[in-house]
């Protein structure tokens, strides 16, 4: 009998397995294919010649799909292949988890067979781990080894690679230990698998772990075992894990025809890669065109001055960015003495300290640094560690630098490694700021990571793209999607040149259409300055000019603009030319060392993860905290914070009570958040004891994570699962959580719906949480506007407790009164805050979103951050009733959202009221409200600031955004005077 051959061609690797009699494994292999799918498979096939001439073959895997189709060979879907092998080799397994390059899969064997793959938007795969290792500047093996030495775990968003990166980058910059980060990454992978794949089913019993990453990475294994609570007997890591699917494919080959190896090889060799990739236009059609282009851009260059001969004053600018560190030293006439641009490899402080030492040597005592200024993510830390004179928010630094190159500039776009920032400039001041949101971040560094993966330097890689004949069109949603588009294009035979050009244009399109949200190139402006390291890539620059049909200015120091702006700021603000900068001296630098330690702040209930840097001279720097308390500083003034007021008001509602009828649990999120007074009032008046779910936290989320059914739903909804678990654990008699198509009619919109998620989440909870029954989970359909219908519905739902209709009616009215009292209190407190802010000269931020955004785990303490920046904070629900009714362009049909439009309208009427809109990631309805709120504000010259929130816990980007807003508000106020 001919041997059985299974070929598993995944997104990153090729696996082969040869089975002999009784499924004995004769040969197996596992190699990376670097997108050279066909060649790699052919090379591998040569290696099995020794085993015979005739085989039965079956192909599996995501890249095998196209191969099998075109080569007309048998194909088996990879999860099915795994399932076949599991039943043969591990008949007693209860479940199996398989992580591959791009897909994660789960197979439940017992208790209802089920096979699942991850959704389209998911991290937690091999490619994700590779990316994270690159980010840490480690090989995957090194990262694995480090993870085993971890002391603590940071919460890292596991929704996808892009989100995780947003969480990790600041940790790196704060100096958190790589050991801990590595372990946290593995933990995030596990969380993603549990949340994204298990979807309400518990992974238990005897579990098989399959696929390359789970075989090679000990840290990942450990994380799975710990999180799932499995002992050695129940967590099985087979030796065959890396090529397990290939075994399954081989087993599925039993029905295939016998074929000589050469025929098989011939079939694969003859496969033509089809030209079904989408192609754009070439960036340059000729060398002449390119030469003219470079010549034009050479004009925007700064002059240099020799640091080895120059004598006199100088100003230092440092840009401590998320992925790169930039330094520049300039003369008072803006000539460059020294500049440096480097990837910070997760050790920004070491790099800057090292470069400063070098700088002092070069200056040789002839040059005096009069002022030094730092900007970027690492601003606070650098300023403290190196005793720099000034710190300036990134946006201002970039703006200053751009002004230097073109005083008429009206539009600036900066594409850095992680972020895209755009400013519109009107009469010499920033008029509006657009920053990318988490989802579209990391585009700049993506090119670099990709180039590295191809074994190239970024310069070489981008040069290849310039004359590409058929640049491929790649998607523009995010880098995770881009990554898989690139791989698909490669499999279709696209060349490195075409991909390089395609990536450049993809990044530009993302910036123009998704971040700036421009509809036509005219919207951008006439005098455009482009900057940021990514624009040093001529392919990106050219793509930008093609897409906007404009000639733009790219300074030769595009990558150093932040640092340059900082240096300019230092120069402008150093009043005297006799003062010497306070920054660390050459001798201090000689002995400069620091130690990093992370811990949890116990200053308040937020329990921030903080990081303490201790410097050799005994000074300390604390970061990661949301407020000033943890940093050892007292809040300068009494915070004016309506968010905190609301949350505490609601938490304090239930009155401790003797258990009378029963204990009812109210899960405090979504519709229950604002209606807590109503239902607390109702149930207490009916004689129940009311129990609230715990205060929200990341831990609470993890407790309910295994029942989350849809990984793209918003974070407040996901948290709800934890609240339900919390109430079940507290042993309530039943949980009450109604379904409401309609919310309160506030008579200011066409309709007064709840959003679909808020309206019906009870249905999902009931369907996905096995602990919930009709007995312990009561979720009637109610319309709070109709007393008659609601009373009837409650009567039916609570029939078990035999409440009389009049009692229910009385209790319901009591509840409504409590709700009204709550609204009145919120409005009154809002008024007090605004008055107090006016008295003390503080700007007010209307932090506008949904009522349930006042949950500290949802807003991540943005209210506190705002207070620490000197703002007073109110919420949209405290002020909208002051505003007139508005007719808006969109269909205004949701209660909570209607408040936003009115709050925005009110802000346009008060100079001291500013609106910041909180948007939950995945909130489809806010895709509509945000544009409308923005247009209401901008029509009267108000700044619009939007902050996307999710599980991401790190406020680094948010802080930059809010500080930029503050700077722009101040600027605008100055102009008004």
């Amino acid at each position: 009998m001919a041997y059985l051959l299974g070929i598993d061609v995944g997104s990153t690797t090729v696996k082969l397995c040869l089975l002999g009699e009784e499924d004995k494994i004769l040969y197996s292999s596992y190699v990376r294919h670097y997108s050279r799918v066909k060649e790699c498979v052919l090379e591998e096939l040569e290696k099995i010649r020794a085993f015979g001439n005739v085989f039965r073959v079956n192909i599996t895997g995501s890249a095998g799909l196209g191969l099998a189709e075109r080569g007309k060979m048998d194909f088996v879907q990879e999860v099915q292949a795994a399932y076949t092998a599991i039943r043969k080799l591990y008949p007693d397994a209860d479940a199996a988890v398989e992580l591959g390059g791009e897909d994660a899969k789960i197979v439940f064997v017992t208790g209802g067979t089920e096979q699942r793959m991850n959704g389209s938007c998911a991290g937690g795969t091999g490619a994700f781990i590779d990316q994270m290792a690159t980010l840490l500047d480690l090989s995957v093996e090194e990262m694995d080894a480090l993870s085993l030495k971890a002391e603590r775990i940071y919460p890292i968003a596991s929704r996808c690679g892009v989100f995780a990166k947003s969480d990790i980058q600041p940790l790196l910059n704060q100096g958190a230990k790589k050991e801990d980060i590595a372990a946290s990454i593995f933990r995030a992978v596990v969380d993603q698998t549990v949340a994204g794949l298990a979807q309400g089913r518990r992974i238990c019993g005897k579990v098989l772990f399959l696929g390359g990453p789970l075989y090679f990475l000990k840290g990942l294994r450990k994380a799975f075992k710990e999180t799932l609570g499995l002992d050695d007997e129940h967590a099985i890591f087979p030796e065959t894990a890396p090529h397990f699917m290939a075994i399954g494919a081989a087993m599925s080959a039993k029905g295939a025809h016998e074929e000589p190896l050469d025929t098989i090889i011939g079939r694969i060799r003859s496969i033509k890669t089809e030209g079904n990739v989408r192609v754009g236009r070439p960036l340059f059609s000729s060398q002449e065109e390119y030469d003219a282009f470079t010549k034009r851009h050479m004009r925007s260059d700064l002059a240099f001055e020799n640091i080895l001969t120059y004598e006199g004053d100088a100003y230092l600018g440092i840009d401590s960015g998320s992925t790169t560190t930039k330094l520049i030293l300039i003369t008072p006439s803006c000539k460059i003495l020294y500049s440096h641009y480097q990837s910070n490899n997760g050790r920004p402080l070491e790099i800057v300290a090292g470069k400063l030492k070098e700088l002092y040597k070069l200056m040789g005592g002839r040059i005096v640094i009069r002022g030094a200024c730092v900007t970027g993510y690492g601003e606070d830390m650098m300023k403290a560690a190196l005793k720099l004179d000034f710190g300036i928010v990134e946006t201002m630094a970039h703006f200053k630098a751009a002004l230097h190159f073109n005083p008429d500039v009206d539009f600036i776009i900066d594409i850095g490694g992680q972020d895209i920032k755009c400013f519109k400039v009107k009469s010499g001041a920033i008029d509006s700021i657009m920053l990318n949101e988490a989802c579209s971040s990391g585009c700049g560094s993506f090119i670099e990571t990709f180039a590295k993966a191809m074994g190239m330097e970024i310069e070489e890689f981008s040069r290849l793209g310039l004359f590409a004949k058929r640049p491929v069109e790649l998607g523009s949603r995010c880098t995770v999607f881009m990554n898989s588009s690139v791989k698909q294009a490669q499999k279709e035979g696209a060349s490195v040149e075409d991909i390089s050009a395609g990536l450049s244009s993809s990044i530009v399109k993302n910036a123009i259409y998704k971040v700036i949200r421009a509809r036509t190139p005219q919207e951008l402006g006439e005098h455009i300055v482009v900057q940021g390291g990514t624009f040093l890539n001529d392919a990106v620059l050219r793509s930008f000019e093609i897409e906007t049909q404009k000639e733009v200015i790219r300074p030769a120091i595009a990558g150093l603009m932040g640092a340059f702006g900082a240096a300019l700021y230092a120069m402008e603000n150093t009043r005297s030319d006799t003062l010497i900068s306070d920054m660390v001296s050459a001798s201090e630098l000689e002995n400069f060392t620091y130690d990093s330690r992370s811990t949890i702040c116990k200053g308040c209930t937020s329990h921030c993860n903080i990081n303490i840097l201790t410097f050799s001279d005994g000074r300390r720097f604390i970061s990661g905290n949301k407020c000033e308390r943890g940093a050892g500083l007292k809040a300068p003034v009494q915070p004016l914070d309506l968010f905190a007021f609301k949350y505490e008001y609601l938490r304090g509602l239930p009155t401790p009570k003797e258990k009378k009828r029963a204990r009812v649990g109210l899960p405090m999120q979504l519709v229950m958040f604002e209606q807590l007074p109503l239902w607390t009032g109702f149930f207490e008046a009916c004689g129940f004891e009311v129990v609230l779910s715990e205060r929200s936290s990341r831990e609470l989320y993890y407790r309910g994570q295994h029942t989350v059914a849809s990984d793209t739903v918003c974070y407040p909804a996901k948290l709800m699962h934890g609240h339900v678990e919390s109430l079940l654990d507290r042993g309530v008699d039943f949980i009450f959580y109604p379904c409401e198509s309609y919310n309160l009619d506030e008579h200011d919109s066409v309709n007064h719906y709840n959003c679909p998620v808020v309206a019906y989440y009870a249905e999902l909870l009931k369907a996905s949480n096995g602990r919930l029954t009709d007995e312990n989970f009561i979720s009637p359909y109610l319309d709070p506007n109709s007393e008659a219908a609601t009373v009837k519905s409650l009567h039916r739902a609570l029939a078990k407790y035999k409440l009389s209709l009049p009692l229910i009616r009385r209790a319901y009215r009591a509840g409504l009164n409590k709700l009204r009292a709550y609204h009145v209190a919120v409005v009154a407190e809002g008024k007090r805050i605004i008055a107090e802010a006016e008295r003390t000269g503080r700007q007010v931020v209307v932090l506008a979103g949904r009522p349930y955004h006042a949950d500290p785990e949802i807003d991540h303490g943005i209210n506190k951050l705002l207070c620490s920046l000197g703002f007073a904070v109110v919420s949209e629900d405290s002020i909208f009733e002051e505003a007139p009714l508005v007719d808006v362009n969109v269909l205004n049909q949701w209660t909570y959202h209607a408040r936003l439009y009115r709050a925005a309208e009110l802000c346009t009427r008060h100079p001291d009221l500013n609106l910041v809109q909180l948007v939950s990631f995945g909130c489809g309805i806010d895709a509509i409200t945000t544009d409308e709120v923005r247009s209401i504000l901008e029509k009267s010259g108000k700044l619009y600031t939007q902050i996307k929130i999710d599980e991401i816990n790190n406020l680094g980007v948010v802080k930059i955004r809010l500080r930029s807003m503050l700077a722009a508000i101040e600027e605008q106020a100055r102009r008004r005077q």
Binding site: S476, Y760, S786, N889, A927
Partner: protein, 420 residues
């Protein structure tokens, strides 16, 4: 809350309005939303003097136009529709000064009713003169609504019944047809015959018309092979539109399956019934409740008639009975879940699974809000009810790769083959 006279500010931007005079020389573009039904519907409207043209444009340039004009987080159908409009207007085939566009609105609690303002915003940037017409029964956009007579509405109902019947018979015949192209020919013949029937009063002869459709498809010679049946449920646009679902029906046919697409009339009945449910759940009763009840009786009566006819004819399994769908829904989710396609999705999944189509693709736009609950969220319940159900949720999005989607469908098919 007080209802006293409050200040009111109008922040709306001016937009062009479709006036009755425009009927005579304007072309009205319609999206490629319901390939089986829109042809008949536009034919009916043409009788009222509306010159409607359905766009069949496909491909990357459509998606690119959409991406350019629509917020990233807006749902995929909005992107497809807007992409088609802008692509068409830029093609030079239409005079922008003599063109209007059409969109449907249900007035429900999901985002779909906001497509209209989104289209207006998108057009404003490049074709500010193009008016947007709304087709809705909720009293929205009174100045830009398509003016429909009662006779139109009744004709619509018949058109949808016939469209559903042709779609169903076609899908059940096509995979088994002995020769290529016969089914398509029958379909084209039936549609042109129906166009003529709508020009006279013949369209009302439900019995004989339906019978003619049944007989036409029954006459197509078929092989006796057995194929895997795959049901398609989900958000209305990606369920029916090939542009929205990357030609899902064709893909399933190429995989040797029989696609089973539930009738559009079920969605119409679902919308009607939701108004009755609102009356029951929330006491929202008004004169329109009465009208909806009448409409429901009329439509459901006709549906029953067609199904009875199908049963008697014997060749094709009848379509879902709507009351049966409601009963099935009650076992999975409350009929109160009425936003988007709401309870209809799990009801259709259950109906498919209990009537021999256990394999189901639940198609949804990436990040579709109602589908979190009624699609992905309810799948578990459906499986408890029908343990053999083999459901795969598939997200459709401009950036998701085809391999990713197809691989997931293939997994479902692998399970299906195993169960066969």
């Amino acid at each position: 809350m007080s209802k006293e006279k409050r200040e009111r500010v109008d922040l709306r931007e001016k937009h062009p309005v479709f006036t009755p005079e425009m009927k005579k020389d304007y072309i009205i573009l319609a999206p490629d939303m319901l390939p089986w039904h829109f042809g008949l519907l536009t034919h009916i409207l043409a009788k009222d003097g509306y010159n409607i043209e359905i766009l069949h444009s496909d491909g990357r340039q459509v998606i690119d136009e959409g991406l350019r004009h629509v917020h990233n987080d807006t749902c995929f159908p909005a992107l497809c529709v807007i992409g088609q409009y802008l692509d068409a207007l830029k093609s030079g085939r239409y005079d922008p000064d003599k063109t209007a566009v059409l969109i449907t609105q249900t007035g429900g609690g999901c985002r779909a009713s906001n497509y209209l303002p989104l289209i207006r915003k998108a057009l404003k940037a490049e074709f500010p003169q193009v008016p947007v017409l709304s087709l809705n029964f909720s009293g929205l956009e009174r100045d830009s609504g398509l003016k429909l007579t009662l006779s139109d509405i009744i004709k619509f109902a018949y058109a949808i019944f016939y469209g559903d019947l042709i779609m169903t018979c076609f899908n059940r015949t096509k995979p088994y047809a002995c020769s290529e192209g016969t089914c398509e020919k029958v379909r084209e013949e039936l549609f042109s015959w129906l166009y003529a029937a709508f020009d006279t009063k013949k369209y009302r002869n439900l019995r004989s018309n339906a019978l003619r459709i049944l007989q036409a498809f029954a006459a197509v010679p078929v092989t006796g092979e057995k194929k895997i049946k795959v049901g398609i449920v989900g958000e209305i646009y990606v369920k029916y539109s090939p542009l929205g679902n990357s030609h899902l029906e064709e893909f399933l046919l190429s995989e040797g399956c029989e696609p089973v697409v539930p009738a559009l009339m079920d969605f119409i009945l679902y919308c009607v019934v939701n108004n009755l449910n609102d009356a029951k759940l929330y006491g929202k009763r008004s004169i329109s409740t009465l009208l909806f009840r009448l409409a429901y009786r009329f439509l459901y009566g006709k549906q029953k008639k067609i199904n009875a006819l199908m049963k008697k004819h014997g060749r094709f399994e009848p379509m879902h009975d709507f009351e049966e769908l409601r009963r099935l829904a009650d076992k999975v989710i409350s009929q109160g879940v009425k936003m988007g396609e709401g309870w209809l999705i799990p009801a259709e999944m259950a109906a498919l699974a209990t009537s021999g189509t256990e394999n189901i693709v639940c198609a949804q736009p990436f990040g579709c809000l109602p589908n979190h609950i009624a699609g992905k969220g309810a799948a578990k319940r459906v499986k408890e009810l029908c343990p053999n159900a083999n459901i795969v949720p598939v997200d459709f999005d401009p950036s998701a790769t085809k391999v990713n989607q197809e691989n997931r469908i293939k997994l479902m098919l692998a399970n299906a083959r195993e169960n066969m």
